[in-house]
Assembly symmetry: C2
Homo-oligomer: 195 residues x 2
């Protein structure tokens, strides 16, 4: 019973509790009874609001993946330099991480438990995102701002650290958001060496 009943619909509460528990115990390690208990009802009562356990996971994953992709399209369409777009993408990751830390964790691993149709949708969204990300990276190499190294690997390393940030935020709760953004950008763009 962690979630304020006044502020969220039951469906919302279920999604919030689901994200929290799926993150902590994994999808398969979380029982519907546990989710129900988290919001103060009995397990089977959940079925007044959801169709299945899998629906909780797919709602969480698809809505977040969609939000990432929508925001990517928005950033792609601006007329800035590719490097400026990369900086916006870094900010985007931080923004969405702060908004939905638990969902961010699920996007790394739990998507394997989606059923076939949703898994395809999810993987397509993620692949599109990764592709566009890499396209912008390629452009910033072409524009002379970014080093011409193995581009798959550069993209991969950038996204790995950005996608793990939720864990850092969970551990060091008293960080300053602006400082976080500055540091993350500095480490990604300039590396750790002193100049």
């Amino acid at each position: 019973m962690d979630i304020d009943k006044g502020l969220y619909s039951r469906k919302q509460q279920i999604l919030i509790a689901g994200a929290k528990l799926f993150h902590k115990k994994g999808f398969k390690g979380t029982t519907l009874q546990a989710i129900a208990q988290e919001i103060g009802i009995e397990g089977p009562s959940l079925y007044n609001h959801i169709k299945s356990k899998n629906e909780i996971l797919s709602t969480l994953l698809l809505s977040n993946a969609q939000e990432f992709y929508d925001r990517m399209l928005e950033i792609k369409s601006t007329s800035e330099t590719a490097l400026q777009k990369l900086e916006r993408l870094i900010s985007l990751h931080i923004e969405l991480t702060l908004k939905n830390p638990n969902a961010m964790a699920l996007m790394l691993n739990e998507w394997v438990h989606l059923d076939a149709e949703d898994k395809t949708k999810y993987v397509n969204l993620r692949d599109s995102y990764d592709n566009d990300f890499q396209g912008i990276l390629a452009q910033s190499i072409a524009e002379g701002d970014v080093a011409d190294l193995e581009i798959d690997l550069m993209r991969f390393m950038m996204l790995s650290s950005l996608r793990s940030l939720y864990a850092w935020c969970a551990k060091y709760k008293n960080f300053n958001r602006v400082e976080l953004e500055v540091t993350v950008k500095s480490v990604i763009l300039n590396g750790i060496l002193k100049k």
Copy 2:
């Protein structure tokens, strides 16, 4: 039936198959029957070689965490500069990733399914490793080689990308190991910007 019977003991085969399937489906999503099938026997026959499903996971995780920590102690004890030690740590991650890609994946997530005692052991090993890593990073700042930014976050970002490398290696199978090391070091040390 993927694993050559001649080269490995049954216990080894079980560990290899377990790592593969736990990686693909998660610990809770993998049945003993599936592991058995992978090496061509029936589920209950596994009990001639193991004590429980959990033992498979804990053997995989603890032996790998221990290997990381042993190697860390070795590197700490050399008389090189802290920056040289950091480069050795990057190489170490790549070496162990190539040796045990599936186990590397498990170390990120599946440790939550260890039972209490093993989980404590595992978390202690990991925390010690992270601590020592950060100590070396602090020293290299003190030695004037590394930028004086939020040190927790720098350590976190470095380890996030290193610990995810198994996924890149799985996807781009034809990479050159030396080039991989060079690129990873360059991105971590110098960032992505062209100099």
